[in-house]
């Protein structure tokens, strides 16, 4: 990764470490020595095998989890607790079932006590995520894909500087995924917001990202970072797309291959 000293970084992750105890009380190193600098306006995808600490990393950036050591600094401020300037889209189940689409999206405006002055944003964001006509539906009345678009809209309305997405499309079918991917692209292009996306889908990562971060488990580490330098909109069947895909798959095979255990007697 090329790191220019004059580059404008929004987020600096420094020597992050997080250890959990499993059921037997043994240590699980969810994150170990994680370092990453995120450029302002960048789109980063994190991919890696299950249990390599992707969610832990994202939650720590959000301020939902605390690291055991190391730090995350966002524009000179160390992240200590959640803040609407870092929006978080959960895999599923984050919507408030008792609020309509409109009310879910307006929720952040109300808790931040700016609803009176920013009311007019609500229809704007409903329009942005293409949910016009569903303003007054309750979550149980809309599809999973629509629910995720609501989840995205209700974080965006807070004008976050970073949008964190933890497998937001994991539970969706591939048509709906493609649809939301395009929405994310559009939003990223529109307001240049920094996005960090956790995904299991290599194509999704290539389609959207400026950089792809590969993580490996036990302990959870960043093993490699790929720059994706392709023009948008990217052609999923294009030559360089497939080339990138091949490179990542190869990396992945390497990353997930278990080394033969060594016995030193």
């Amino acid at each position: 990764m090329a790191e220019d000293k004059n580059e404008d970084y929004i987020l600096t992750i420094d020597n992050l470490r997080r250890v959990y105890k499993d059921d037997d009380g043994a240590d699980v190193e969810a994150l170990e020595d994680v370092n990453l600098k995120v450029r302002r306006g960048e789109f980063i995808s994190i991919i890696g095998a299950s249990g390599c600490g992707k969610t832990t990393l994202l939650r720590t950036i959000a301020g939902l989890d605390k690291p055991d050591s190391g730090s995350i600094v966002m524009d000179d401020h160390e992240i200590k607790k959640p803040d609407p300037e870092r929006g978080y889209v959960f895999q599923q189940g984050g919507l408030f079932n008792w609020l309509t689409v409109k009310q879910n999206i307006a929720y952040g405006l109300k808790t931040r006590k700016v609803y009176k002055s920013k009311k007019q944003d609500v229809p704007k964001y409903i329009e942005l995520v293409g949910l016009k006509g569903f303003e007054d539906s309750y979550p149980y009345q809309i599809s999973g894909g629509m629910a995720q678009r609501v989840a995205i809209a209700r974080t965006l309305i807070n004008d976050p500087r970073i949008l964190l997405l933890d497998e937001p499309m994991g539970a969706l079918d591939s048509f709906t995924r493609a649809d939301i991917q395009d929405k994310l692209r559009e939003i990223h292009k529109l307001n240049g917001i920094t996005m960090i996306l956790v995904t299991h889908d290599i194509d999704e990562a290539i389609y959207l990202s400026d950089r792809i971060v590969i993580m490996t488990p036990r302990p959870g580490k960043i093993s490699n970072i790929f720059e994706v330098k392709m023009e948008h909109p990217r052609q999923r069947g294009g030559v360089d797309f497939l080339e990138m895909r091949r490179k990542l798959l190869k990396e992945f095979d390497l990353a997930t291959a278990q080394p033969e255990p060594e016995y030193n007697i």
């Binding site: 939902l64 870092r86 984050g94 079932n97 149980y140 807070n158």
Partner: protein, 329 residues
């Protein structure tokens, strides 16, 4: 499209039972030894039979009106037609009861008066019945409202603070199994008036289910909803009152409807055990004079009153939980 035949069937069946009952009441002579006197009620001069027929006509008119209203949509009409046979049967039931209880008095008197006999209570002392009904209503409203407020309040506190849950739950579990009226002797000595004592008992019996179900609802709020709320800028107050409490609403309402049933029982029992008024008190009083028709009258008032309250609570619940899947049938 609602068919003409269906309309004819629905209306005829709904009102004919009551009209036939009225006709029978009018033409069949009383063979038993029943004293029929005129009473003046609200400008009308009625004896028990004409009052009874008035009730039957009112019922017919009511169902006529309901039928007309439900003609608006297919679904509501279907619902109306579904109840038609039941209405017819009720009319015939009243007819038989009238014959057996009043006209021929085959049933043991004075324990089982006919419908006209029961209506006599409303002709003899309408004001007194109203007075006692209002007393019950006031008692219920005070006790139930206070109980729900305390219950939801306690439920939120113990649902939110694990320490509070630890200390309060045993108290809740022990007091919860004791029927509230068992506290009557204490309530009567501790409270300034018998009314306050009864309110206290109703509060007790409402408090328990509302508290424990509210607490359960608060505690079962998924972590992800709190986390989502926090990333959207919520403070602790928001987490409690904009996330946990709305999430707990279905359980809170389960608690409230359970409590409602408890409250009716406690109310009537408390009234029968030493209140200066109320429908329970009226029953006791009437029993002393062997005026069983008045006991039946009080029971009918209770049935109407309690069904009405339960229906209103049901409406409120349905509205408050309109966001829940599968609630709207």
């Amino acid at each position: 499209m609602i068919k003409k035949r269906s309309v004819a069937y629905g209306f005829l069946l709904s009102i004919s039972g009551f009209l036939i009952a009225a006709l029978v009441n009018k033409v069949v002579p009383i063979t038993a030894d029943v004293e029929v006197v005129d009473y003046k009620v609200g400008g009308l001069t009625l004896d028990i039979n004409s009052a009874y027929r008035l009730v039957l006509y009112s019922l017919s008119a009511l169902f006529m009106l309901l039928g007309l209203i439900s003609l608006r949509t297919n679904d509501s009409w279907k619902k109306f037609v579904k109840g038609a046979p039941l209405r017819f049967a009720s009319g015939i039931g009243l007819l038989l009861w009238d014959l057996l209880g009043t006209k021929w008095q085959v049933l043991t008197q004075p324990f089982f008066p006919g419908p006209a006999g029961i209506i006599k209570a409303f002709l003899v002392e309408p004001d007194f019945i109203l007075e006692n009904t209002l007393y019950s209503l006031r008692l219920y409203a005070s006790g139930f409202t206070l109980g729900v407020v305390f219950g939801v309040g306690t439920g939120i506190i113990i649902g939110w603070f694990p320490k509070a849950y630890y200390w309060v739950t045993p108290v809740l579990n022990v007091t919860g199994v004791i029927p509230a009226v068992a506290w009557m002797p204490f309530a009567l000595t501790l409270m300034a008036t018998p009314f306050d004592a009864a309110v206290f008992l109703i509060v007790m019996c409402v408090w328990f289910p509302v508290t424990s179900l509210t607490a359960q609802g608060i505690k079962s709020t998924p972590k992800v909803q709190f986390e989502a709320a926090r990333t959207l800028g919520s403070n602790t107050f928001d987490l409690v009152f904009k996330v946990a409490v709305p999430h707990a609403m279905p359980q809170i309402f389960t608690g409230i409807s359970t409590a409602n049933a408890f409250a009716f029982t406690t109310l009537v029992m408390a009234e029968m055990m030493g209140q200066p008024g109320g429908l329970g008190y009226y029953i006791n009083l009437s029993k002393v004079w062997s005026a069983y028709y008045k006991v039946f009258a009080a029971i009918i008032v209770m049935a109407v009153l309690f069904s009405f309250i339960t229906a209103i609570l049901g409406r409120i619940e349905k509205y408050a939980l309109r966001w829940q899947k599968g609630l709207v049938r």
